[in-house]
Amino acid sequence: MSAVAIAPPPRTYVANGASIWSWLLTEDHKRIAILYVITITLMFFIGGIAATVMRVELLTPEGDLVSSSAYNKLFTVHGVIMVWFFLIPSIPNTLGNFLIPIMIGARDLAFPKLNLASWYIYLFGAAFTLWAVLNGGVDTGWTFYTPYSTQSSTTHVVSTTLGIFILGFSSILTGLNFIVTIHTMRAPGMTWGRLPLFVWSHYATSIILVLATPVLAITLLLVAIERVLRVGIFDPELGGDPLLYQHMFWFYSHPAVYIMILPGMGVVSELIAAFAHKRVFGYSFVAASSIAIAVLGFLVWGHHMFTAGMSVHAALIFSLLSYLVAIPSAIKVFNWTATLYGASITFDTPLLYALGFIGLFVIGGLTGLFLAALAVDVHVQDTYFVVAHFHYIMVGGMVTAYMGGLHYWWPKMTGRMYPELWGKLAALTIFLGFNLTFFPQYIVGYLGMPRRYHVYPPEYQVLNVLSTAGASILAVGYLLPLIYLLWSLRWGKEAGPNPWGAPGLEWQTSSPPPPHNFETTPIVREPPYMYPDRRVVGDPSAHRPQMRDGSHGG
């Protein structure tokens, strides 16, 4: 009789309550991740619309579609939304939120309520910034350089910066949550040497989030104080120093570049292993290089200021350090490539994104070395060369990794497979559209076209037309997954717990996972990526990867 009264526990986190409040007040990291997926997707398309209007305006050298004032607001909105409201939370708050507890065998993040609070703080910050955008916008560029932002601009600088200031707390809380979770909530046997590389890269990211974001908060607060109270901090007319602003801003914003790329590198490590069906070559080097990037990333901010009137000796040091920070990134690329050696590769959509990431990241990274060479930077600083470089890293790198990760873990998150053919088509479209959009910008930048130009000399037109043509292909490439992923929620094939045959803990539980991730706490007995080895088993079908134990040699 009593057995009838006890309802069975919900089988999946999705089935665990259907009301809107069961989502809006959830403390389940997986549901919060889904909330983030929805919000950042919205932000991505808002930022994308701004970019689209800009690219159409730049079809002709004259300013014939929008006014200069509108154009200046468009690129500011594009930058602010894409950097703070899309890229920084993109992988950590969606895939990271969803996967880190499962990957380490935990029930949830260390502070579930704080995790939900992060999302509300994000919304609150976004509300401030979107209010400013809808009520006339802001025209300083996402960098808010002083004294323009504090003395000259007549737009909504304060409410925009306050929105970012608030958002910063969301970043800090997420970083804190990840650090504590990774330190304290690993399942029995999940030693540091057995952490998936995705977790390592998020650990490195979290260190930056916690240490760098407060500096951004201070800097933006000082901008607001100078603008409202006329206290001289950055404006020389009031006794301030505009270079102080640039030092403070880039002390956050350069490490923020690594906030935006490290999680992508973590995703790519997982994808390469999964589709090469192979352990990641040089696991400990790939893991350690994430930490090296996080540490060295704090020491290179001055390379944004080589033409700003900084001392030549400081410039020399920053140039040298910028070459050093490139080395850990190179180590990752070499190890990913080496992982393919001797592999047994299946070419599913996520791997196409991962290979696309490596290709675009190599180009973006190498052109970063151009910028680190002092005299080259003098010529290309503040031109489209820089725009092309960081879009290769941020879009070619991070967004490509996000798309790859989204496809790879989509069956885990939703229980459904995406349509493979459409997936491959979209990946190819994005790759081609991206290169056609941004490669011409390297050339037009070296020719001398400055960034943030509403009108431009006619000799730059052909390359701008190519770029706009590429952007329209890219837009189609990003709209395709929006459609077929939503389609798959209802009509996609049932995925089953482990459609990729991957050994990670997230694949050892059902899809979608139950509310507390595992029926019983898993016990970890082996390093990550223990795929079957050709030399150990003659008959692969008889092989059980869990049978092998042993510490990682590296």
Partner: protein, 364 residues
């Protein structure tokens, strides 16, 4: 390159060819690295694709030897562009002594240029071929950036402090000047032209512009403002002497030393109590908000023109004069009339070459 699809900007200065060499080296070496990585990715993708006979991967943990190799070799190779780029950067930061000194004032959204002999231009700068030109730049409002793609030269122009850049044009022609730092509404229209002329044409052009030199304009302003009432050589001086000051080291009240360069002189006019010279009272009033950047730079140019002759050895820090009782020189008194002004304050009008410190050797 093709006019329809240009790939490289025109090259019209010594700095441009040197930079292009480094840039093309970077392009070639990056292309090589990219090709090697892409070749590996493609070859491995084809060779190790899953197919009958290759259902299972060969597990390889890693290799210390390979890791060390691909850490050290890129590190070593990256030192080539580091040193190469740094060398060119140091050249860009050190204008030659014989450079023509042009003053630049930027404001939303125009460029103003002042030649040493007082010719001024807006959004256009005439310079001769083969002569180094040094730009001393300041902004009247927000940050701008002086960028001439054909010279591969760019330098931010800041409010409240002078920055410098230099170039030596090699080919006559008109080259684009662009503002490269976002400065507000018409940022993209803050453009102009650098007109490079053969030296004879340039001399003709200068002659047709005829006007008073910057230094003599500055001297006149110096007297109008009554600066010479205190800054004088005789015993009535209540402020440090300014002749021979430029380029020297000055000892301040707090014991520190500063170089008397353009920025120091400008700051001392705007904010005199900020850096008080040792042995003097901080009696000078501020001129903040009373002088335009153009006026300030004529004063700086004047003080530069009465500085030590070029090439003179730098003496020890200037000795402090005996302390004097504080007197308020502005308490209703009128400036000392110019006949009493000591001789060193007047070389600008006496000399046929009004700014010897700038134009350098007259044989050019």
């Amino acid at each position: 390159m093709s006019r329809w699809l240009p790939l490289m900007p025109p090259s019209a200065a010594t700095s441009a060819d040197r930079l292009d060499a480094l840039f093309l080296f970077l392009v070639a070496s990056s292309a090589l690295i990219t090709l090697v990585i892409f070749a590996c990715l493609i070859v491995f993708s084809v060779k190790y694709r899953r197919r009958p006979g290759n259902e299972v991967a060969r597990q390889i943990v890693g290799s210390w030897k390979l890791e060390t190799t691909w850490t050290l070799i890129p590190l070593g190779l990256s030192m080539i562009p580091f040193f190469w780029g740094a060398t060119l950067y140091f050249d860009l930061s050190s204008p030659p002594d014989n450079a023509l000194n042009v003053r630049v004032v930027a404001r939303q959204w125009m460029w103003k240029f002042e030649h040493p002999d007082g010719q001024s231009e807006i959004d256009e700068l005439h310079v001769p071929v083969g002569q180094p030109v040094r730009l001393t730049m300041i902004s009247q409002d927000v940050i701008h950036s002086f960028f001439v793609p054909a010279f591969r030269v760019k330098m931010d122009v800041l409010p409240g402090r002078y920055t410098t850049a230099w170039f030596q044009a090699t080919t006559a022609g008109r080259y684009r000047l662009e503002c490269a730092e976002f400065c507000g509404l018409d940022h993209s229209r803050m453009t102009g032209w650098i007109v490079v002329m053969e030296p004879a044409d340039f001399a003709n052009w200068l002659a047709t512009q005829g006007t008073q030199s910057l230094a003599s304009q500055g001297e006149r302003l110096f007297q109008q403002l009554g600066c010479n009432g205190c800054h004088r050589a005789d015993t009535l001086a209540r402020a440090p002497r300014l002749d021979g000051l430029y380029g020297q080291t000055v000892r301040l009240q707090d014991g520190s030393q500063v170089l008397a360069d353009d920025t120091y002189i400008r700051t001392s006019i705007i904010n005199p109590s900020g850096q008080v010279v040792d042995g003097w009272q901080p009696i000078m009033p501020t001129f903040q908000g009373q002088l335009s950047e153009e006026q300030l730079l004529t004063l700086v140019e004047y003080i530069r023109s009465i500085g030590p002759a070029p090439g003179a050895p730098a003496p020890e820090p200037r000795p402090s004069p005996p302390p004097r009782p504080p007197i308020d020189p502005y308490g209703g008194g009128t400036p000392i009339p110019s006949p009493l002004t000591p001789a060193p304050l007047l070389p600008a009008e006496q000399s046929p070459s009004p700014a010897p410190a700038i134009t350098g050797s007259p044989t050019r």
